[in-house]
């Protein structure tokens, strides 16, 4: 995985936050729209009631007055004032506690001081009067609490309105009640007041709480599922990576086993041939009756020498293959000489001159066998390079020294430089320039060296390559 799991999850959380915000905003917007529609509906109802009072109720009362069924100077706002009636209807509703909004009528110079608007409301009313808009809806702040405010203009829709709202024509009982009647000074159809609807935003939102909760929950669940999904992918990737590493390890182990077996066979070939030659020699002498006792003893001794050499060789390899269970202290000299000994047959066969220079025999804690494996690997690569580049004077120089107090082992060869274009890549897994190579040798070497708390570097010299192990 190219990006770390954490970054992806963080991105997802951010995305989730943004989407949630957008979602809630969208829902809020929707709720406001609903609220506005409801408010206008309510205000329209109020206006309709007002119209009913003007067009139905008042003429009826006039009619009753004419028929003398009512006193000619009869006046009662409970029957005649549309503002009064609508306010009372609102009060009844509020008393039943099934509403959560404020209803108010605002007028300039109202008869009823309750109808006096505040600065903000008067501003809106003026705008209505000037005909700037037909309705007004906005979220406003009052005492630091957000409210949704909707206003609708009231038109002076009927002549009967003017009758009462003009000093000259107002009924006597009305003047007695209110003492002064402010003059409307307007014609039928003019805006004289407005009715407003105000509801706390909070209660709009509470009303929609279920939708919010359900929506939020669904989004959260989807989000969690996504995260789980990503986690699952991440785990799989992780497991695959582990598996690949394991596979590489075992491939490399097999390859180095194969190489080691090659080395053992090199080491053994000579003594085997010698023992074979000795046996044939003995047999031929015996056939010809020329086998003396001295000769037999001497030949047996020779053969035994070869056998003990073979035995010690196999011990070296056995030690090398023994898995080390714990880190032990080892010295630079020890690992270098062990690597050289294990490879001695093939170094001799290919006439490679190995020079070892222990300037400082430092000791380190770690897995000696693993370091030996890396040294062998690098020397083997050099051997292959010698053969590939057909170099006659083959030299490998191994040095152990302290570089400003830092223990270092360098392996330098004269097997030709590595192309600058690929030198960066030689530690990559599966990178190889050879036909029959897994491309894991140097990759694993680097891994092993790093596992042992050191670093492995490579650079070109004049006529070859220098590998440096920095402990």
């Amino acid at each position: 995985m190219k990006y770390s799991f954490k970054i992806i999850v963080a991105l997802f959380v951010m995305l989730y936050a943004v989407i949630t915000l957008l979602f809630f905003n969208f829902y809020r917007e929707l709720a406001m729209k609903d609220a506005r529609q409801e408010a206008i509906f309510i205000l329209d109802t109020m206006n309709a009631i007002r119209d009913y009072v003007s067009t139905v109720q008042r003429p009826l009362i006039e009619e009753l007055k004419e028929k003398k069924l009512l006193a000619a100077d009869f006046f009662d706002p409970k029957l005649l004032s549309s503002s009064y009636i609508t306010r009372e209807i609102y009060n009844i509703q509020r008393a039943k506690k099934n509403i959560n909004y404020d209803y108010k009528l605002i007028a300039t110079n109202p008869l009823n001081p309750d109808h006096e608007g505040n600065g903000f409301e008067n501003e809106i009313l003026d705008d209505f009067k000037e005909g700037k808009y037909q309705e007004y809806s906005q979220i406003i702040k009052e005492n630091n609490k957000p409210y949704f405010f909707v206003g609708l203009p009231i038109h002076n829709s009927h002549p009967s309105c003017l009758e009462c709202h003009t000093m000259n024509s107002a009924p006597k009982r009305m003047i007695e009640q209110y003492h002064t009647i402010p003059d409307f000074q307007s014609k039928v159809g003019d805006v004289i007041a407005m009715i407003t609807f105000k509801i706390p935003v909070y209660s709009i939102l509470t009303y929609h709480i279920n939708e919010f909760v359900v929506g939020g929950t669904v989004m959260f669940i989807v989000f969690v599922i996504f995260i789980l999904f990503i986690y699952k992918i991440y785990r799989n990737e992780q497991r695959l990576k582990e598996k690949t590493t394991m596979l590489m390890m075992s491939q490399n182990r097999l390859a180095s086993m194969g190489e080691m077996i090659g080395n053992i066979s090199h080491q053994w070939r000579q003594p085997l041939a010698q023992v074979g030659a000795i046996l044939i020699n003995l047999e031929l002498h015996s056939d010809k009756d020329k086998l003396t006792k001295e000769k037999l003893t001497q030949k047996i001794k020779e053969a035994n020498e070869q056998l003990s050499f073979m035995s010690s060789t196999i011990d070296d390899f056995k030690n090398f293959f023994m898995p080390s269970t714990s880190a032990k202290e080892f010295s630079a000299q020890e690992v270098i000489f062990r690597a050289q000994k294990l490879l001695s047959a093939s170094l001799e066969k290919y006439a490679i001159d190995v020079r070892i220079d222990i300037q400082n025999n430092f000791t380190r804690l770690g897995y000696a066998n693993e370091i030996v494996q890396v040294l062998i690997n690098i020397m083997n690569n050099a051997k292959e390079a010698f053969l590939a580049h057909e170099i006659k004077e083959r030299k490998i120089e191994i040095c152990a020294f302290l570089d400003n107090g830092v223990p270092v082992i360098t392996l330098q060869n004269n097997a030709g430089r590595i192309n600058d274009a690929i030198i960066e890549k030689i530690f990559d897994p599966y990178f190889t320039t050879k036909e029959s190579s897994s491309g894991l040798g140097l990759y694993m070497s680097k891994m092993i060296i790093e596992k042992n708390g050191a670093t492995l570097r490579v650079e070109n010299s004049d006529d070859g390559v220098i590998f440096t192990i920095i402990f």
Binding site: L272, A273, I280, L284, Q306
Partner: protein
Amino acid sequence: MSECNLLDVLSNKKVLCVEDEACILNNIMESLELFFGKVVGVKDGIEALDEAKSNLYDVLMLDISIPHMDGLEVVKKIREFDKKIPIIILSAHTEQEYLWRAVELKITRYLVKPYDKNTLIKALEDVAMELIGHMPMFQVTPVCKYDFCKKTICHQEGELVHLSKSESRLLEYFLKRPNQTVTYEQLFDYMWEFEQPSKEALKSIVKELRKKIDNNFIKNLYGVGYVCEI
């Protein structure tokens, strides 16, 4: 012909053995000494080529992995001037590459190490057969034959005459080069190598051969050497 003694053909022959490992060389030489008149061992390719160029050897036995020049390379160089000399290759390699190279060099045997006694004997018998041109009895003159194994001259009348080691060695040298001029120098080198040779000694061996076989089959070339007419 007696099965026994094909290998006796080798008893007056000289073999060069090339092997870089001292102990193996030593053992092979000891073994070969049981069959050959003389065994010389060297350890590397260049030395081997120098030795072979001296032209004194009847048989070569080479290991492939030897320092400086590999065994097959040495053989290739030798084949440039000597197409006939029987060669046995010893090697631990069985890779095709080596075998192909070996086939082209017309070697007698390719022995894979470790080999056993019988393989070695068989190889030596092949070499012996090759040395005598696959004819154990050689018709030297119309009336007498030479038996390579027993080193005897067999006359028509049934008379058997034994040849000494130097006589048989010289005779076989002539028989290999019928109707060719053989110089004194060649013969000195072949017969005596580093010891001080003398014309008299050579003449006396030739004289013996003429006596035992036929007066005329070895002709003198005055001041040069001999030619064997068959």
